[in-house]
Amino acid sequence: MNDVDIIGLFFKRDERALSEVSAKYGAYCFTVAKNILGVPADAEECVSSALFKAWETIPPKRPEKLRLYLARITRSVAFNRFREMNRQKRGGGEAALVLDELAEIVPAEGGAASEAEYRELKAAVNAFLRALPERERRIFVARVFRAEPVKAIARGLGMTEGAVMTSLSRTRKKLRQKLIDEEII
């Protein structure tokens, strides 16, 4: 079933929407959650929660790209779960490593951004990603958005792990510089 039809089911409040979306994007969402959490059982729970959230938000929302919409929700649910696990010292998947890497841009110690600061940051990050050369963007998005392990990124793009790591390092430096230049950090 195509995305438009699936979204149509959501709008009709037809519960087949959930089975269809699960069959089509469940595995993808599971991968995103598992990358972040590292624990399959927790990832499965996250996917269920994410699908439920999708059910709650469509309508009124009508996502342009259903897969990304679901991935965003899954990522957010999984990340909240990751924080919970962190508090309980239960480890986690790649998320801890990704956050460590992002601490090179902005340290972990700072308080969360205010609403206004976050709006600025979001716009700057978006513009930065748009301007990045495609190859660097692919690598960065795979690592930070989908929390993919470096090895998987390297395999997917036919690169060495070292090359992926150095590209990520370079992108982080560039992003940090952009945020400094724009006086966001």
Binding site: L68, F79, L99, L102, P107, A113, T160, R170
Partner: protein, 261 residues
């Protein structure tokens, strides 16, 4: 503001920048194109790969010597691997401006600036822990940082032929790749890049560090060096395909020059 804000912001970026569907299509296309090219190249490439010193022209995309297992003293027969992906068409000018890019002018310069050039047979690999991020003290010496230690692959080789460097060259017997680990030493060593180093013959170039790491970094896809048991130098050119292919091109040009002598 903290690192979690960045994580969140990336997650809320536009669909257009997060969508990897296009990427998958591109990768599939590249793979298919690569396989087709490999099939076409096989007939000729086998003949060339059997002897890397063959008079025929060698290019980075039509052959790669492969051999051996990890312990491997005995080479297996050479086989042909799929070509490396085409370099991205245009270098990003911003990249080069930022890196103060100074490419080798030609193969002669590549060789002239090297202190040691050897032909080496890589026969085994292992793993080492190496520092991957560096801060420097006021004397310019690297500050040890245990937290950035990561495993890297170590390759052992034996010298087959010394072109430059005499006895000094004969002290070398191993190098490391896969990343940006970097320690100061007497020499930088660089070798032709490949997606992964397989056992086989490679030409290794060494440069004394006063040439400047940035300069070398701009020119070489890999600069690696070990002397005895101590890790000496390793560096990577960020996987930049333009620089990698440039370095390969110069290496092969130099080889051709040597054969013509």
């Amino acid at each position: 503001m903290n690192n979690e804000d960045i994580f969140r912001a990336v997650g809320e970026a536009d669909d257009a920048v997060l969508d990897e569907e296009k990427v998958k299509r591109n990768n599939s296309f590249r793979r298919i194109a690569g396989m087709a090219a490999a099939l076409l190249a096989v007939g000729a490439a086998v003949l060339i790969a059997v002897n890397p010193w063959n008079k025929e022209k060698q290019t980075s995309t039509d052959w790669r010597p492969v051999m051996s297992n990890e312990t491997g003293a005995t080479p297996e027969p050479f086989v042909v691997k799929a070509p490396m992906p085409e370099p991205d068409a245009t270098p990003n000018p911003e990249w080069f401006a930022e890196a103060d890019y100074k490419p080798f002018k030609n193969a002669q310069e590549l060789a002239d600036k090297a202190d040691i050039i050897v032909r080496a047979q890589i026969y085994g690999e292992g793993s080492v822990m190496a520092q991957t991020r560096f801060e420097f003290d006021e004397n310019g010496d690297p500050i040890p940082d245990e937290s950035s230690m990561e495993p890297r692959t170590l390759y052992e080789f034996s010298i087959v032929e010394v072109f430059k460097g005499g006895n000094e060259a004969l002290k070398l017997d191993r190098f490391m790749t896969q990343g940006c680990s970097f320690l100061f030493s007497d020499y930088y060593l660089c070798c032709p890049p490949a997606p992964d180093i397989d056992c086989g013959e490679y030409i290794l170039f060494l440069y004394k560090p006063e040439i400047g790491s940035q300069w070398l970094w701009d020119n070489c896809a890999m600069m690696v060096g070990f002397l005895g048991d101590e890790v000496k130098v390793s560096y990577s050119a960020m996987g930049n395909p333009v620089i990698e292919s440039r370095f390969e091109e110069l290496t092969y040009a130099w080889l051709e020059g040597m054969r013509d002598r």
